[in-house]
């Protein structure tokens, strides 16, 4: 389901502390930043992408070709000026998204399950900045 990335954007925007910390600089896949402007985006900021979908476990009871559930992969990339700031923002993003999932504020998105994992912390000497990805695998019904 393509709106799972919008769900994560809504979750981050709904958290006033986090949204304030990044000064509203959150970029979903649908609103790309032109390459020439990338260096001018003030730190810190967040990019949310939709990285595709796979199908959940199939059973013999499914008479169609597809499984009843989709597993959507979305990535939340947090970019910050320092290691400490990055750690704090990652922690805040996890908390904000977890709260959104738990309270069912999903803009009508039906979530059956989700998992989260984090990638390594990287450093870009050109900007310079630190960045890290949170990867969400969100299971939704295949309507």
């Amino acid at each position: 389901m393509l709106d799972t990335d919008s769900f994560l954007v809504s979750a981050i925007k709904a958290d006033s502390r986090l949204n304030g910390a990044i000064d509203g600089n959150i970029f979903p896949t649908a609103v790309p930043v032109p390459d020439e402007d990338l260096d001018n985006v003030p730190l810190p900021y967040v990019i949310v992408t939709y990285d595709g979908m796979t199908q959940d476990t199939d059973t013999k009871d499914q008479s169609g070709f597809e499984s009843d559930s989709d597993i959507n992969t979305c990535r939340v990339e947090v970019v910050a000026e320092s290691r400490e700031s990055l750690a704090e923002l990652i922690s805040d993003a996890r908390r904000a998204i977890r709260k959104f999932f738990e309270e069912g504020n999903g803009d009508g998105l039906s979530v059956e399950d989700y998992t989260v994992s984090a990638g390594r912390v990287d450093y870009d000497p050109l900007k310079p900045c630190y960045y890290q990805d949170l990867t969400y695998q969100i299971t939704t019904p295949n309507d």
């Binding site: 199939d58 059973t59 013999k60 009871d61």
Partner: protein, 148 residues
């Protein structure tokens, strides 16, 4: 014609196993070596001394009276109860299609026989669907019959 796995199903006690992910029908013959000095060119000769069959299935863990385990589908709990009852059950292996892949294919052969359920193993891992495996040993012949 190739048949997909979802269109080959087991019925246990007249009901499909709900949310099954795979099933196996295994038929075997016991062979005894009947080679003699008369056997040509040292080739072994065999004699059938017995036949056996068994079934096994893997499925997601379901509970009775749900969309999966309805009047036509056995839940994991139904299967567990079968084992605990230690009674012989009717097994059928058939080709299916249609709604929930639970409609027998017209004219397709059905293999059926009595079996003794003898093994169930339920697996419940964190953050994963509960699953179970089930086995039954044939108790007497497995016979083909013409489909409806």
């Amino acid at each position: 014609m190739k048949i997909k796995g979802q269109n080959l199903r087991l019925l246990v006690g007249g009901k499909y196993i709900a949310a099954a992910t795979s099933c196996t029908l295994h038929v075997s013959m016991k062979l005894e070596d009947s080679s003699t000095k008369d056997s040509t060119d040292d080739w072994d000769e065999k004699e059938i001394t017995g036949k056996s069959w068994d079934i096994s299935t893997e499925a997601l863990y379901t509970v009775p009276d749900t969309s999966e385990a309805d009047a036509n589908g056995s839940s994991a709990e139904d299967i567990l109860d079968l084992i605990l009852a230690a009674k012989e059950v009717e097994i059928e292996f058939q080709r299916t299609a249609g709604e929930k892949n639970r409609v027998p294919v017209d004219g397709a052969k059905v293999y059926s026989g009595k079996a003794l359920p003898n093994d169930i193993s339920i697996k419940a891992s964190n953050r994963q669907n509960g699953t179970f495996t089930f086995q039954a040993q044939g108790n007497g012949p497995l016979a083909p019959k013409a489909g409806k």
